[in-house]
C-alpha cells in the first residue's frame, strides 16, 4: 500500500470512528441502559444469509433463541422463525442534542427479533450499543482533557518563554515539579478533590476538566522552548522595533510559529487523556453505572468468569487499540509535516 492510499484509509477511519461516537444513538441498536434480563451474557447474534430451504437471501436475517434451552442457561438458536434486518428502523428513543429526541436507528432486526451484534453483558444489555455510548464518554474525555491541557500549557509556555527573566525560571521550576510526580499518582491526587461518586455526565465533564489541568506541564515546556527561538526571529524583532504591542506580537507572530507544535501535541495528548479516563473508570473512580465508558466496560473483565468465558466483552479493548493506532499514525504524520521535535 503506498503512502497516499494509506493516508486515505486512515483519514476515513479517523472520521468514521468519531462520527460513530458523536451519534451513538443512531448507530447503536438500543439504549445503553436497556436490559434484557432473560439473556445475560448472550453471545453475539450471528447474521445468516442462507434460508432453511437452501435459498440465498441478500437481506441478512437473524434467528431467535430456543425458549426451553434459555431456561437451562444455554443459547441455542430456534430456526422456526426468521427476523430480517432492516435499515433505518424505529427503535428506542435517544437524544441527539438536548431537546431533540429521535427514534431512528441505522440497523435493527424486525420485531420481536433481537439483534446483539457484540453479545450482551450480565444484565443482558447490548454490548455493541454500550460500546458506542462508552466511546462517546471516553473520546470526549480525551478531547476535553487535551484541549484544557493545551490551552493552559500553551498560555503558560507563551508567557514564560516570551517574558523570560524570573517569570520564566519560576514557571520552569513549577513544570519540573509537575513532571517529577508520576502521572498516575498526580491523577489520583487531583481526582481526590472531587467527590468519590460521580452521578451524571455533567459532573463527569468537570472531572475531566480537572484531569486536564494536570497535563499542562509538558506542553508548557515545549511551547516555551519554541517561543524562546521564535521571539528572536528577525521579523519579530522588526515588529517590536516598529512599536507593536506585546499582545499583537504574541498573537500575530509567535502563535503561528507554535501552532504546528500545538497540533502535534493534540494528536499525542488525546490518547493519553482517553487512557486517563479509562484508567479512572476502570478503577471505579470515574463515571458511575449505568452510564458506560470504555473504562467501566473493561472493568467487567476483572471478574474471573467474564475474563475467561465471554470473549465478546473484550470489544471495547479492541476499539481502544484501533483508536490509538489511528492517533499514533496522525501524530507521526503531522509531526513529519510540520517538522517539530516532540519528546
Amino acid at each position: 500500500m503506498n503512502a497516499r492510499a494509506s493516508t486515505k484509509v486512515f483519514v476515513t477511519l479517523f472520521i468514521a470512528m468519531h462520527l460513530i461516537v458523536i451519534l451513538p444513538g443512531f448507530f447503536s441498536t438500543q439504549g445503553y441502559a436497556e436490559q434484557s434480563r432473560d439473556v445475560p451474557f448472550a453471545p453475539p447474534t450471528r447474521l445468516h444469509f442462507v434460508l432453511a430451504d437452501g435459498q440465498f437471501s441478500l437481506r441478512p436475517f437473524v434467528y431467535g433463541w430456543d425458549r426451553a434451552a434459555l431456561d437451562t442457561g444455554t443459547y441455542e438458536i430456534d430456526r422456526s422463525q426468521i427476523y430480517p434486518l432492516r435499515f433505518f428502523t424505529t427503535g428506542s428513543p435517544y437524544t441527539v442534542v438536548k431537546g431533540w429526541v429521535a427514534t431512528t436507528h441505522l440497523l435493527g432486526a424486525e420485531k420481536p427479533g433481537r439483534l446483539f451484534l457484540f453479545g450482551t453483558d450480565d444484565f443482558g444489555r447490548d454490548e455493541f450499543s454500550r460500546m458506542l455510548y462508552g466511546g462517546r464518554i471516553s473520546i470526549l474525555a480525551g478531547w476535553i482533557g487535551a484541549a484544557i491541557a493545551l490551552f493552559t500549557g500553551g498560555i503558560v509556555g507563551l508567557i514564560s518563554g516570551y517574558s523570560g527573566r524570573w517569570v520564566d525560571s519560576v514557571t520552569m521550576r513549577l513544570v519540573e515539579l509537575f513532571m517529577a510526580l508520576p502521572w498516575l499518582y498526580l491523577l489520583f491526587a487531583v481526582r481526590a478533590i472531587l467527590p468519590l461518586r460521580i452521578e451524571t455526565t455533567d459532573t463527569f465533564i468537570l472531572l475531566i476538566a480537572v484531569v486536564g489541568i494536570i497535563g499542562w506541564a509538558r506542553p508548557a515546556r515545549l511551547v516555551r522552548s519554541m517561543v524562546l527561538s521564535a521571539k528572536e526571529r528577525n521579523f519579530v524583532l522588526a515588529s517590536r522595533a516598529m512599536g507593536a504591542s506585546h499582545f499583537h506580537i504574541l498573537r500575530k507572530h509567535i502563535l503561528p510559529q507554535v501552532s504546528g507544535l500545538l497540533l502535534t501535541m493534540a494528536a499525542y495528548l488525546i490518547p493519553q487523556f482517553i487512557l486517563a479516563e479509562v484508567t479512572l473508570s476502570f478503577l471505579g473512580l470515574g463515571i458511575g453505572e449505568p452510564v458506560p465508558s470504555w473504562g467501566t466496560l473493561l472493568a467487567e473483565l476483572q471478574k474471573y468468569n467474564v475474563l475467561v468465558n465471554y470473549w465478546w466483552m473484550y470489544a471495547p479493548g479492541v476499539a481502544l487499540v484501533a483508536l490509538f493506532l489511528i492517533y499514533h499514525w496522525a501524530s507521526t504524520t503531522i509531526q513529519q509535516k510540520v517538522e517539530v521535535p516532540i519528546a
Binding site: A180, P182, L184, A192, V278, L283, L320, L325
Partner: protein, 322 residues
C-alpha cells in the same frame, strides 16, 4: 562533584514541593476519614470529634503541614487511620514489592529493547525493520489495562502462571531455592506486562540512536579497517549511542512506577498500587502522601542515577581538571 551536590540540593527542594503539592491537593478534597466515620451509626459524634482532636485533624492546614514535616524529620511518616498502623512501615513493606517488580521489569524491557532496536537499525528499511516497527506500533497502541488483562487471561486459561499474589500458600514450608522459583513464577506476569508497555518506546529510541551512529564516518572507517561486526557494534557504535540511552534509562524507571500501579491492581501484586487506590477511597491522606513522595523520590533518583552514569561514561560532560 559540585555539580552533583547542586543537583542533589535541587532534588530535595523538588521533593519538598511534591509533598506540599500533594498535601494541599488532598486537603482540598471534600470529606475526610472522619466524615466516613460519622456515617457509621455505631460511633457517636462525641467519639468522632475526640478522635479528630486527638489526630489534630481540625487544625488549620499550614499547622498540619508543619507538624507533618516535623514528624518526617524525626523519621515518623504518620499514622494510617484505616489500617491502624504507622504509615512508614506500611508503605515501605509494599514499596519493597513494587521496587522488586519494577527492577525486574526495567531489566527485562532493556534486555529486549536493546537487541530489538539494534537489529532494526542494522537492517534499516529491510523487512526486519518494517515488521519490527509494525509490532512496536501495535504494542504502543495497546493500553496497559488491556495488556495486563490479556496476560491474566493467559494465566487463567493455561495455568502456566499463578494468577496473582507474590507467593504460593505453601511457600513457608519450601526450601530457599524453591521459594525463589515460586517468587519468580509469580513475578513473571506483572514484570512482563510492565516490560511490554515500556519496551516499544525504548526500542524506538535505541533504533534512532543507533541509526544516527551507524551512518557516522568514523564507523565507516572502522568497517573499512576490517573490524568484525560484533566488535564494531559493541566497542564502537554502542558507546556513542549510549549517551541518549542513559537519559532514557532514568525516564524508564519513572514511567514504570506509574504503570506498575495499574498492573499491580489487575494482576494483584501486593505493591503500592492496591494500597494507594484503597487509601484514596478511604481518604487516608498520609498513606497517599507517603506513597506519592516515594514514587517521586524514585523518579528523581532514577534521573540522578542517569546523570551520574552519564558523568562516568562520557568524558565530554566532566569538567576539565586544571
Amino acid at each position: 562533584m559540585r555539580q552533583l551536590a547542586w543537583r542533589l540540593g535541587q532534588s530535595i527542594l523538588l521533593l519538598v514541593g511534591v509533598s506540599l503539592c500533594s498535601f494541599v491537593l488532598l486537603s482540598a478534597a471534600p470529606g475526610n476519614f472522619f466524615d466516613e466515620l460519622k456515617l457509621n451509626p455505631q460511633i457517636s459524634s462525641a467519639t468522632v470529634s475526640a478522635l479528630q482532636a486527638q489526630y489534630g485533624a481540625n487544625r488549620p492546614l499550614p499547622e498540619r503541614y508543619a507538624r507533618w514535616v516535623a514528624s518526617i524529620v524525626r523519621g515518623d511518616w504518620g499514622y494510617s487511620l484505616s489500617y491502624h498502623s504507622p504509615v512508614g512501615g506500611l508503605v515501605w513493606q509494599r514499596a519493597r514489592n513494587t521496587l522488586l517488580l519494577t527492577t525486574f521489569a526495567v531489566l527485562l524491557a532493556w534486555m529486549v529493547a536493546l537487541p530489538w532496536g539494534i537489529a532494526e537499525a542494522l537492517h534499516k528499511g529491510g523487512w526486519i525493520d518494517r515488521t519490527g516497527e509494525v509490532i512496536l506500533a501495535l504494542l504502543l497502541a495497546m493500553p496497559d489495562v488491556l495488556l495486563a488483562l490479556l496476560l491474566l487471561l493467559l494465566a487463567a486459561r493455561t495455568g502456566w502462571f499463578p494468577t496473582g499474589g507474590m507467593s504460593s500458600t505453601d511457600a513457608a514450608e519450601l526450601s530457599a531455592a524453591a521459594k525463589a522459583w515460586d517468587l519468580a513464577r509469580h513475578l513473571f506476569l506483572p514484570a512482563t506486562a510492565l516490560a511490554l508497555t515500556t519496551m516499544p518506546i525504548l526500542a524506538r529510541h535505541v533504533r534512532s540512536a543507533m541509526v544516527g551512529v551507524l551512518d557516522a564516518p568514523f564507523l565507516t572507517a572502522a568497517r573499512g579497517h576490517g573490524i568484525p561486526k560484533f566488535r564494531l557494534l559493541s566497542r564502537y557504535a554502542l558507546p556513542v549511542a549510549l549517551n541518549s540511552l542513559i537519559s532514557l534509562f532514568g525516564f524508564s524507571v519513572g514511567s514504570l512506577l506509574s504503570i506498575s500501579l495499574l498492573v499491580e491492581i489487575i494482576l494483584s501484586w501486593p505493591g503500592l498500587g492496591p494500597l494507594v487506590v484503597e487509601a484514596v477511597l478511604a481518604r487516608d491522606i498520609y498513606v497517599v502522601v507517603a506513597a506519592t513522595m516515594f514514587s517521586a523520590a524514585c523518579l528523581i533518583v532514577g534521573n540522578l542515577l542517569a546523570d551520574v552514569l552519564l558523568y562516568c561514561t562520557d568524558p565530554r560532560i566532566r569538567p576539565v581538571h586544571s
